[in-house]
């Protein structure tokens, strides 16, 4: 059995600078980390292996600039077996369609697998679209917002999903794509043994040529969307601040505020 985990390297802070000409992020200038929400996808994969006690290979895949190798190494130090980095100048500037296309093209070449885990969304672009789009391109079932794996067999899985009305219990055949939310389990830390293993592990770099697709289908050229304008919202509001020694009066002010807004 093989489990695939998709991870993205993202800027460590949210003070990202944007290139206003192209609408892309200046990724070189900031420190990068594994998308924090992808740690939960890694944890989910590792837990499935511990649960099934079968020979399961856990493969991490990331698309990104050469330094995204660090993210893959970190995933290996947490317990994943190996990783591939899809990296090519032509992949840059990809939107969610082009990202899913590039990832799914490689996954098709990789051969059989049971589950693809993704994070709920990346903390930079924040779309959460790559998992469902990828599942469409691979023609696989998609389970989003998964909070728990209840049962897993050779060719099926039963999970819980958090939706607006409550918790949904869903069955799916395998293989399938699963995007997990934080409730799935606290991610583990890298181990020393893992770090040593990661240091030695070669991370193959996959380029456009390896994928055998046209330059026009990947990266900025392959992206149906275009960022046309970037602007910075003003975070502050012209509110009033009241230092009220008398809590009674403070509460009256709150109640009046709620009345004026039609809440009460």
């Amino acid at each position: 059995m093989r489990i695939i985990i998709l991870i993205k390297q993202v800027p460590a802070t949210d003070k990202v600078k944007m290139d206003e000409e192209t609408g892309t992020m200046k990724r070189e200038e900031v420190e990068s980390v594994i998308n924090p929400l992808d740690l939960y996808a890694i944890e989910a994969g590792l837990q499935v292996r511990e649960r099934i006690k079968e020979d399961i290979e856990i493969v991490v895949i990331s698309m990104g600039p050469p330094k995204a190798k660090e993210a893959i190494k970190e995933a290996i130090s947490m317990g994943c077996d190996k990783g591939y980095l899809l990296s090519d100048k032509t992949f840059a500037g990809a939107d969610t369609w082009a990202t899913s296309f590039t990832l799914s093209t490689f996954i098709k070449k990789l051969g059989e697998f049971s589950i693809i885990f993704t994070g709920e969304r990346a903390t930079d672009g924040e779309t959460g679209q790559v998992g469902p789009s990828l599942s469409a391109q691979l023609d696989l079932p998609i389970l989003t917002y998964v909070s728990k794996i209840k049962e897993i067999g050779k060719d099926y899985i039963i999970v819980e999903r958090e939706i607006e009305e409550g918790t949904e219990v869903v069955f799916s055949s395998l293989p399938c794509v699963i995007s997990v939310i934080k409730a799935i389990s606290e991610p583990r830390l890298p181990t020393l043994a893992g770090k040593l293993r990661a240091r030695e592990r070669e991370i193959p770099i996959i380029t456009l040529k390896d994928l055998g697709v046209s330059e026009r289908d990947v990266g900025l050229l392959g992206s149906p969307t275009r960022v046309v304008k970037i602007f910075y919202p003003k975070l502050s509001r012209e509110g009033i601040k009241i230092k009220e020694k008398n809590p009674e009066r403070a509460v009256d002010i709150i109640i009046k505020f709620l009345e004026e807004r039609g809440i009460l």
Binding site: T127, E168, V169, S172, K182, V228, L258, I263
Partner: protein
């Protein structure tokens, strides 16, 4: 003819009100394009709810009827929607940025090879090109981006709930209801086995008013105060990441970058400092009230009403006054 489609949100056999917000956006765009606005509905016994969609702005309602469509299912829904979209070739498709919309839309866009912009807070039509301008926050709310899909159709967007008021209901509006009886043999590879409803609790994304707590609440017991007040106000309870990490309250209540994004009419932040990651999840609330004992807490920079004071003292009193009010009114 320039068609605009909205995907109606059906939850447990009822058309959910977020659909009327989509219709308001749809109407705004359709009038600029001088086209037709269609509301797509999938499900079973919904016939008596379809006219509402016309009263709220649709020109056409396309109802796809089959008992297997009663429960949201990505594969079944796209089996119905993809051929229809390919046949009608709409300019624009909108859905709500809910767990349903955020799942089906990228799946459809993946199949249709077109662009999809997530979680839009504003939509418009570009004058000279007639293209959809989609504006959305990203990177923890630090950036707003306007995105276009210049060469692919349909142009697709999910729209953040509570971003636009529904149009006034107009019972005189006329429109067409088309019922498609679907005789498809659905063979989805996924199936809902059960739904454990969260009783009573109003979900964060639907709530008109949210009261959220952070470390300033001092101990987990004090969250009961928040729940009581939320109940009195008919709202929901949120939390900052630190208290979720400490296990004071479940993750499902977490608001912020790694939790939920909310935009209620009023957001009350109690004992929350206002780290940018928390702000990312609530900054678009219509009104923000902050209660914090630290007068320099960053939360005050984004609040419309800031109260410097002790959280517990104020909450206890607020609860009592709300209870008194309630007694007076019944």
């Amino acid at each position: 003819m320039k068609d605009v489609f909205i995907l109606s949100e059906v939850r447990e056999g009822k058309i959910h009100p977020v659909t009327y917000e989509l219709l308001a956006w749809g109407r705004f765009l359709t009038d600029k394009l001088k086209g037709t606005l269609s509301a797509l509905v999938l499900g079973d016994n919904l016939e008596d709810q379809l006219e509402e969609l016309i009263f709220y702005g649709a020109d056409k309602v396309e109802f796809f009827k089959n008992s297997e469509l009663e429960i949201f299912n990505v594969e079944n829904y796209s089996k119905v929607l993809i051929p229809f979209i390919k046949e009608k070739n709409p300019e624009i498709i909108l859905a709500s940025a809910t767990t349903r919309g955020r799942t089906i839309m990228p799946y459809l866009a993946g199949k249709l090879k077109t662009g999809l912009t997530a979680d839009c807070t504003h939509l418009d039509i570009e004058e000279d090109t007639g293209l959809l301008l989609q504006t959305r926050p990203a990177i923890g709310g630090n950036v707003l981006a306007t995105i276009k899909t210049p060469e692919h159709k349909p142009q697709m967007a999910t729209v953040r709930p509570k971003g636009k008021k529904p149009l006034l209901k107009d019972k005189n509006r006329k429109g067409e209801v088309i019922i498609h009886n679907i005789n498809e043999n659905f063979s989805s590879r996924t199936k809902r086995l059960d739904l454990k409803r969260r009783e009573e609790e109003i979900s964060l994304s639907d709530a008109e008013i949210i009261i959220s707590g952070g470390k300033g609440l001092k101990n987990p017991q004090n969250f009961y105060l928040l729940f009581d007040i939320a109940h009195l106000l008919g709202g929901a309870v949120g939390a900052s990441r630190s208290v979720v990490d400490m296990g004071w309250i479940e993750y499902s209540h977490q608001v912020g970058l790694s939790g939920k994004t909310v935009n209620p009419k009023v957001y009350i932040a109690v004992g929350i400092s206002g780290a940018v990651q928390h702000l990312a999840g609530m900054i678009n609330s219509e009104n923000i009230i902050a209660i914090n004992k630290d007068p320099d807490a960053p939360i005050f920079q984004v609040s419309d009403l800031g109260i410097v004071g002790d959280a517990i003292e104020i909450l206890s009193l607020l609860k009592r006054k709300l209870e008194e009010r309630k007694k007076r009114n019944v």
